[in-house]
Structures are given as structure tokens and as C-alpha cells.
């Protein structure tokens, strides 16, 4: 029976300092890092981001790849099926559909992003003022928004498009006139909720100015909700553009957008269904990508609602 030798040194206290208990073992993480980690787990959303990036790149370079112009008529080669020369075929005026599709992508994405951006600016300013000031001002500002949104969005846009000269910016302005209301409501709700929280009170009692509270505390904390709304506004804008172009109120010829291409293709759908396929496919793909990314962002930024 042999005991292991117990030495004097075994009874010495191990080195310990009070501060060790406070040491943070893991890497510290911020709200945005956390959100990004959650977002990365959503494979669909990552695919959506990649698709959006590819579409953006193609919309900028796609018109140059095939060596065809988007607006050149070539009546001898009208309504050609996809071939080596015309990758997506040609339309009823012999215009190259590959070039038109990517030129249309540029217009559709530009309108979508621009309308969403203007909605963002107006909505955030309107919502912040209404939510922060509250009371009478809030009531009047939101009443105006209510009256504006009482008329259906598309009806207003259509009326405006009827009286304004056709063009890209007309389309964007018409879409912004009622489009900002959704954003304003979201921002107002967030600001109302946030301004009652302790950290805002603490900041104010430390003497922070209104501008500082708004720019440093309210808007950054509402950014999650703003971003999600923004991402989901873009597909709506792209849809509205396509819808209006389809009614003949969109971008004027020879400019192409996916909506006008769909509309053109529909009249000869029986004979040349491929003409509908490409613009329709890319509208759906773009809307799908933005919707999926928007959903992923909502799940990542708002962990309470996660299911």
C-alpha cells in the first residue's frame, strides 16, 4: 500500500485575484455583431443578398456583355428566339432582349432604391418629429398621414402619373408622395417607445441636447426597425413600377423596365412566350430576394419575435 507523497506545497493557495471574477471570457459582442451572427445562420437570406449583389452587378455591366444595344431596332430580326447572337431573343421591334433585360434591371432597381431612400428620409424626419414632440403636434401630423393613406396608394400614384409628364423621376415622386407614410408610422412608434426609456432620461438629465438625444439615442435604437421596413419597401416600389409600366404609365420608350417588357411581351404571349419569361423571372427573383433578406433581417434584428 503506497500512498503518494503529500507535499507541503500542495496546500499552498492557488493564485487568485478578485478581478478574475469580473473577467469576460468570451469575446464581447455588440447588438449589431449579434444580429449579424443571427443573420448569417439564415441561409436563404444570405442567398438573397448574393442574388441582389449579382443583379446589381449585372444591371451595371449586363448591357455591355453581349455587345448589343438595348434600343436599336432591327425589324428583320424581330421576334427571334434566344440564340447565340441574341441570348434572350429579340422583341417585336428586333431589340435585343438580353441588353433590354439588364437595362430594365438598372431602371427597376434604381426606382426601387431611390423611392425607398426618399421614403426613408421623409418618413424618418416626419416620424421622429411627431413621436418626439408628441401631444398636439403628433396628433395633427399623424392625422395628415391618415388622410393621405385613406386613399389607396396605387390610386394616388395613378392619378399623379396621369397629370405629370411621363418619366423616371415622375414615377419616383409619385411613389414617394404616399409611400413615406408606412415608414413615418414605424419610426414614430419606435420613438414614442424609446423616449420613455431610462437611458434617454439619463442622457437628458446629464444635459444632452434634443439633437444629441435624437441622433445618438433615438435613431440608432430605431435603426433595426427602419432597416427592416426599408428592405421591405424596395420590392413594393419595384412592384409598383412594374404595375404602372404595365398600365402604360411607366417609363417612356425606348427606355426599358421590367414592367414595360412584361407588358410588351403579353400582347404576343401566344406566339413568343420566351419574351415574357425573362422579365417576369427577374421581377420575381428580385422581389423574392428582397423579401427573403427583409425577413432575415427582421428575425436577426428583433430577437423577441423569433420563431
Amino acid at each position: 500500500m503506497s500512498h503518494s507523497q503529500i507535499k507541503e506545497t500542495d496546500f499552498e493557495p492557488i493564485h487568485y485575484e478578485q478581478s478574475d471574477a469580473e473577467r469576460i471570457a468570451g469575446e464581447s459582442t455588440s447588438f449589431w455583431k449579434d444580429a449579424w451572427r443571427r443573420f448569417k445562420q439564415n441561409k436563404l437570406a444570405i442567398i438573397g443578398i448574393i442574388v441582389i449583389l449579382l443583379l446589381t452587378i449585372m444591371s451595371l455591366t449586363g448591357t455591355m456583355i453581349s455587345g448589343q444595344n438595348y434600343s436599336d431596332n432591327d425589324l428583320l430580326n424581330a421576334n427571334q428566339s434566344p440564340s447565340l447572337e441574341h441570348w434572350f431573343g429579340t422583341d417585336h421591334l428586333g431589340r435585343d432582349l438580353f441588353a433590354r433585360t439588364w437595362y430594365g434591371a438598372r431602371i427597376s432597381l434604381f426606382i426601387g432604391l431611390m423611392a425607398a431612400f426618399l421614403d426613408l428620409i421623409i418618413g424618418v424626419i416626419w416620424g421622429t418629429i411627431a413621436g418626439y414632440l408628441g401631444g398636439r403636434v403628433d396628433e395633427y401630423m399623424m392625422r395628415i398621414a391618415d388622410i393621405l393613406s385613406g386613399v389607396p396608394y396605387l390610386l394616388v400614384v395613378i392619378l399623379l402619373m396621369v397629370i405629370m409628364p411621363a418619366g423616371l423621376w415622375t414615377l419616383i415622386i409619385a411613389m414617394t408622395i404616399t409611400g413615406w407614410i408606412g415608414m413615418a408610422r414605424i419610426v414614430r412608434g419606435e420613438v414614442l417607445k424609446l423616449k420613455a426609456e431610462e437611458f434617454v432620461m439619463a442622457s437628458r438629465s446629464l444635459g444632452a441636447s434634443t439633437t444629441r438625444i435624437i441622433s445618438k439615442h433615438l435613431i440608432p435604437n430605431a435603426l433595426g426597425a427602419i432597416l427592416v421596413t426599408l428592405t421591405l419597401t424596395i420590392p413594393t416600389a419595384i412592384f409598383t413600377e412594374a404595375f404602372l409600366s404595365f398600365l402604360g404609365l411607366g417609363v417612356p420608350a425606348p427606355k426599358a423596365s421590367w414592367g414595360t417588357m412584361t407588358s410588351d411581351a403579353l400582347s404576343s404571349l401566344r406566339y413568343y412566350p420566351y419574351q415574357l419569361f425573362f422579365p417576369a423571372f427577374f421581377i420575381c427573383l428580385t422581389m423574392l430576394a428582397f423579401n427573403v433578406v427583409g425577413d432575415g433581417m427582421r428575425d436577426a434584428l428583433d430577437p423577441k419575435d423569433r420563431r
Binding site: 388622410i147 385613406g150 386613399v151 397629370i163 404595365f246 404571349l269 422581389m287 423579401n291 420563431r307
Partner: protein, 311 residues
């Protein structure tokens, strides 16, 4: 309750007043007069035309006349369709839109709620994923593209349905499906989220704990509570169906009001544009009011008069 409805109706009239005013002045600002055409009308005749339609009056008188006529439910004559008043056009075409609209709403509600409940009951299983993939696709595919694809495959290629027009029930199926899909997908997602929330709540656990069958738990305690957000979506649903009908009716050549509206835009028939806009707005504002009243009636948490007792 009565006071609430009165207040809402008052608000509707204020909104309508703004809408009528804005459409009136927008249409006045539109380029070109109602009798502008390729063929020049002799000035004498144009004068007489203007006089006949009251267009020689000052703008403010015209505006007042228009307001008075709207109150009398008279939207004036059409400038492009000879001998037709806007009222005639609405009376003639609205019934088609109404049938199509109700069919689409019914479809969107029944299938949407069903899919949502299915997804919630099979949460994170195959049924859930299938229903939600369908919902995301439904939201992402614009109605007019779906309409074109349906028309091409089912009517033209397979010959299962009539291609266009609106004469029988078979005619209405494809347009109703095209019109209903996007709102259907929204409803499915809404229903799934709210059903999941309800299924995790304490009263469902209580119901299960006291030994109620899963059928009773799901139907009586689950769906009845979970359906409330869907009811509040009915207002936007009516809007979506109505604006969606513009294009769907055009694609399927249905002689409904949406088609007339699109037609009047293409023809720049200003009185018809104005009249249908006002008519659509009245329709929408009142259907949203009705939806809100229904919501107040069915939400068990909003009790208007005393307790209703157990049902």
C-alpha cells in the same frame, strides 16, 4: 359604439371631401382639354360643347357644381364614350368586379387561414416549410405575371379554362386565383405568426391540462383567438383586391370597373377617371369602417355592452 361609428363616418366624409377636391383640381391641371383630339374642332362648336358641359363657367363654380352633383350621386357625363354617363358605366360594370372581388376575398381568406394554421400546427416540420415557401413565393410573384402565366398554361396550352371574358363561374376561376394569391400569402404568414403565439399562451396550456381534446383546443381556443390579426387585415385586403383588379380585369378582358378605369386612363377620359376614383374611395373607406366594426364585435377583449357570457 354609436358615438364611435358617428365619429368614424364624420372622418370618412372629411377624407372624401379632400379626395374629391384633390381629384377635381388634379384633373383640371391635366394637360389638354376634354375635346382635344387629332382632328381640330371648329371654335364655334367647341364653344357650344363647353357651354353644354358647363365648362365655360369659372373654375370655382364648376367645382361647386361637381361637389353638389357628387352628393346627389351624379358623376357627370363621359367625354369619350358617347351618350354614356359615369353612373351608367359604374352601374354596368361594377357587378362583374363585385363578383370577382368576393370570390378572390373568399379564396384568400379560406386558403390563407388554412395554410397559416397548418404551418403553425406543424411548426418547423415539412408542412410549415412547404406552406411558408409557398407564402414567400406568393408575395414575390406580382399578380399580373401570375395572371399571364395562368392564362397561358391553363387556358391557352391546356384548354382547361376559358381564356378571357366573364360569362360563367369557370371564367372567374383564373382571375380570382391570380387576384387572391398575394393577399392569400400575407394572410397565411399573419395567421401562422399569430397562431404560434396563441398556441404558446397559458390558456392553451390550461385547456390541454384540463384534458380537452386537441380538436377543441385548436378550433375553439386556438383559431378563434388567432384569427383577430387576420380580421384587422381585411381593410388592406379589400384595397389590395380592388387595385389588383385593374390589371387582372385588363388581362382577362373582364368588363368590370377596374378595366373601365384603366381604359379611361388610356383614353384620358377625365370625368370617368374622377368618378371611378371617388367611387373606389367611397367603397374602400366604408368597407374599412365595416371591417373595424366587425373587429370590435368579434374581439372577445373588446366588450361593448356588458358581458356576453359563454357561448
Amino acid at each position: 359604439m354609436f358615438k364611435y361609428i358617428l365619429k368614424r363616418v364624420g372622418f370618412i366624409f372629411i377624407s372624401l371631401f379632400f379626395i374629391v377636391t384633390i381629384t377635381f383640381f388634379l384633373m383640371q391641371a391635366a394637360p389638354g382639354g376634354p375635346f382635344t383630339s387629332e382632328r381640330k374642332v371648329p371654335p364655334k362648336i367647341e364653344e357650344q360643347l363647353n357651354e353644354a358641359y358647363g365648362l365655360d363657367e369659372p373654375l370655382i363654380i364648376q367645382y361647386k357644381d361637381y361637389l353638389v352633383n357628387i352628393v346627389k350621386w351624379d358623376f357627370g357625363p363621359s367625354f369619350k364614350q358617347k351618350g354614356q354617363s359615369v353612373n351608367d358605366i359604374i352601374n354596368r360594370s361594377f357587378k362583374y368586379s363585385l363578383i370577382l372581388g368576393f370570390e378572390a376575398i373568399f379564396l384568400a381568406l379560406s386558403v390563407g387561414v388554412f395554410l397559416g394554421v397548418l404551418a403553425a400546427l406543424y411548426h418547423n416540420k415539412f408542412g410549415d416549410y412547404a406552406a411558408m415557401i409557398f407564402a414567400v413565393l406568393g408575395i414575390s410573384v406580382p399578380s399580373f405575371i401570375l395572371a399571364a402565366v395562368l392564362q397561358y398554361t391553363f387556358a391557352f396550352k391546356l384548354g382547361l379554362f376559358p381564356i378571357a371574358k366573364f360569362d360563367s363561374f369557370m371564367h372567374s376561376i383564373l382571375p380570382a386565383v391570380a387576384l387572391a394569391t398575394t393577399p392569400l400569402a400575407f394572410i397565411a404568414r399573419l395567421m401562422r405568426a399569430s397562431m404560434l403565439e396563441v398556441l404558446n399562451s397559458d390558456y392553451i396550456k390550461t385547456a390541454k391540462a384540463k384534458g380537452l381534446s386537441s380538436r377543441v383546443t385548436i378550433y375553439r381556443h386556438g383559431i378563434r383567438n388567432a384569427i383577430l390579426p387576420v380580421v384587422s387585415y381585411l381593410g388592406p385586403l379589400v384595397t389590395a383586391i380592388l387595385t389588383g383588379s385593374f390589371i387582372i380585369e385588363k388581362i382577362f378582358a373582364i368588363p368590370g370597373l377596374g378595366n373601365e378605369f384603366v381604359e379611361s386612363i388610356t383614353n384620358r377620359d377625365y370625368t370617368v377617371i374622377m368618378g371611378t376614383t371617388v367611387f373606389f374611395s367611397i367603397l374602400l373607406l366604408f368597407s374599412i369602417l365595416i371591417v373595424d366594426i366587425i373587429y370590435g364585435l368579434i374581439d372577445p377583449r373588446i366588450k361593448i355592452t356588458g358581458s356576453k357570457g359563454d357561448q
